[in-house]
Amino acid sequence: MVLKVFFPSCCSSADSGILIGRWLSEQSSAVVLAVVHFPFIPVQVKQYLGEVQHLTKVSLSVLGSWSNSKQEKEEGLSEFLEDLGTIFSHEPWIQISKEGDSKFWSCSTLQKHSSSPKEEEVILVYYDQRKVMLSHLHPPLDTGDGRAEDASKLSAIFDTVARSRVLFMTDRYDEGPIKLTHWQSEGVEASIIVELLKQTSVPACMLLTFLLSLVSGICRSRVLKFWPLSFLWSKLSTCEQLGHRLQHLQVISSNKKAQTQTQLMRKANIFVSLLIDVALGILLMSWLYRKNRIGHLADTLIPVADHVAEELQDLLQWLMGAPAGLKMNRALDQVLGRFFLYHIHLWISYIHLMSPFIEMILWYVGLSACLGLTVALCILSDIIALLTFHIYCFYVYGARLYCLKIYGLSSLWRLFRGKKWNVLRQRVDSCSYDLDQLFIGTLLFTILLFLLPTTALYYLVFTLLRLLVVIVQGLIHLLVDLIDSLPLYSLILRLCRSYRLAAGVKFRVLEQQDGKPLRLLMQINPLSYGAVVQTYRLPTYSCYPKDSWASLCKKLFLGELIYPWKHKGEKQD
């Protein structure tokens, strides 16, 4: 099999020494992690390797020798390097040598126990150690942990470098018997800001946990569980959103460190999403409260409500006349029309009653926009729901009336044909009716049938209005969900440090020379933006849409009430 040597590009200019790393025999590849320089004592090297192996659980060993001669090749050195092969017994013993500044290195292997003495081909693959260490491979299939042998070969290499972090902690300023060269050997990287953040995060988390426990204790208190209040809380989407954000805060402020990469990314995504949300909310708030825009908004609210009510009245007058040229049943028309008109009149009176307090209420409610843009949008959606409450009422009245009519019609139609619905057997059975039953049934059937167009028209008009309001609310909720679930931290990471999220690798063939091993450069192939969003999406609390199109149409036809945007966890009707 072809021998593959993964060589870190940072060690290309290192002084001569021996190579330490991991040998993957099933792939016949050697992953070089560092170069140990002369002088060293072999016993100490083996001891050091044993210690590192104990810490990292990665089986490290001495793989071969590396000679970087600035002048001509020294004869004694090559024999010395071969003798090293007998001290650190490793099959096969890899010898890489570089002459001067030449790009083309020669690589040979020594096999003592091989059955076939033929010269096997060597491929030299350069890799950037820091990027491979920090990168996280995203395999398309998530096989279980039991299939480690079938795991991709590349993930074994990434795994080796990532778990050998301890090896990279010793730099050349450390006073130890072993002198290493790896990507951090010029000095261990550290950032003051990161250290400060780590120190302050612990007390901040504890404070946040304490505050959150207080808040959730208040929320769970018995006072708020009484029937009218709990019904109100469940209907308002603002409370749902606040509860969702509270959950997010609890996730961030938990004391447990994130175990896996996925948990860490989730925490980071939630944190950045909350930050951006609050920032946008404060921006919105500052825009609203400048130049008394809240006052303007409150002033325009009442005229808008009046305007909507007037439009509804015009619509009802139109329906009470001859709408679209259709001839309605005069009496029923007048009854329904007058009933709805009176309803609108009541609604307008209530709105006018509330008008002095609107500005104050709006002012205080607008303050809650500092909790986040999503909360502000939810409040907007709730205000729309409250303002169009009369449309909702009309829809319910029209739907119930229509539903009753349809059920009555279907039952009387069965009677007309001499059949009956068997509740026990859940099927239609034939039944012999008395003459007076048939007479009354047919009479009622005729009445209901001829009154159907009027009721159907009212139902149609109010259903359309209700659907319009539902669509507007749905769009707002869609926007809220988008802000909630977008993994901003992952997207920014993909933009700025694309090597952290790897979909795979790509190889580039470097200049070749005959007789020298094949030189390849291994680079990280970053994940596409769509895959990033799909992998790291935050879960949301709503599911859309609950019904398929067919069942929605069926419900509309039968007059059953529709609730297209249902939240997860709500009791089904």
Partner: protein, 191 residues
């Protein structure tokens, strides 16, 4: 060593196949399609701008003109960056894997690397495309559970669509390297 041969694509456009042998177990095969012609570019731009001028003459609104310029610029950028593929190449490295690269006209390269352990075979398949039957080269991926099964089929050279003669050359080159992994003796070291 590099050699270039001229072939035709399934629609009749001229394409070029370039083969490079980097080492005994590494080969690169690149199929280059026709470049973007200045003729077609100027024809498309003039058509859009003439239509915009016509609309401007009708509506006397200068927004139409700026919108036409904007649309043609954005359209050109999107076409060059996402649609027009200049070159598709296949890099076969025995015992490592197969790498498929598509280079777009704007310089963007999209790469996929398939490890050798996942590759079952490289074959030429037939497909019905619109009103024609065309041949295409594809990589069969191994199903991890079933040794005889195929989990996925990855088609190659989808935008240049070479004809059978070109595909046979590519197929022969690939198979020479793939055969090496079957005949290679398991002489890995014991450690």
């Amino acid at each position: 060593m590099a050699e270039e041969q001229r072939f035709r694509s399934a629609c009749g456009a001229p394409i070029a196949l370039r083969r490079r042998q980097h080492s005994a177990s590494c080969r690169e095969l690149a199929v280059r399609g026709p470049r973007l012609q200045l003729r077609s570019l100027s024809a498309a731009t003039s058509a859009v701008w003439l239509a915009a001028y016509g609309l401007f003459a009708l509506s006397e609104n200068s927004v139409v003109l700026s919108a036409a310029i904007f649309i043609s610029l954005i359209g050109l950028i999107i076409y060059l960056h996402f649609v027009k593929i200049d070159q598709e190449s296949l890099l076969v490295i025995g015992s490592l894997g197969i790498q498929v690269t598509s280079s777009y006209a704007s310089g963007k390269e999209s790469t996929t690397f398939i490890e050798m352990g996942q590759v079952k075979d490289v074959v030429i398949n037939e497909a019905i495309h619109m009103q024609k039957v065309i041949y295409y080269l594809c990589i069969l991926l191994q199903d991890p559970e079933d040794p005889q099964g195929v989990s996925e089929v990855v088609p190659l050279f989808q935008s240049s669509k070479p004809r059978l003669d070109c595909l046979i050359e590519v197929y022969k080159s690939c198979q020479e390297i793939l055969e090496q992994r079957k005949t290679a003796p398991q002489s890995s070291g014991i450690k």
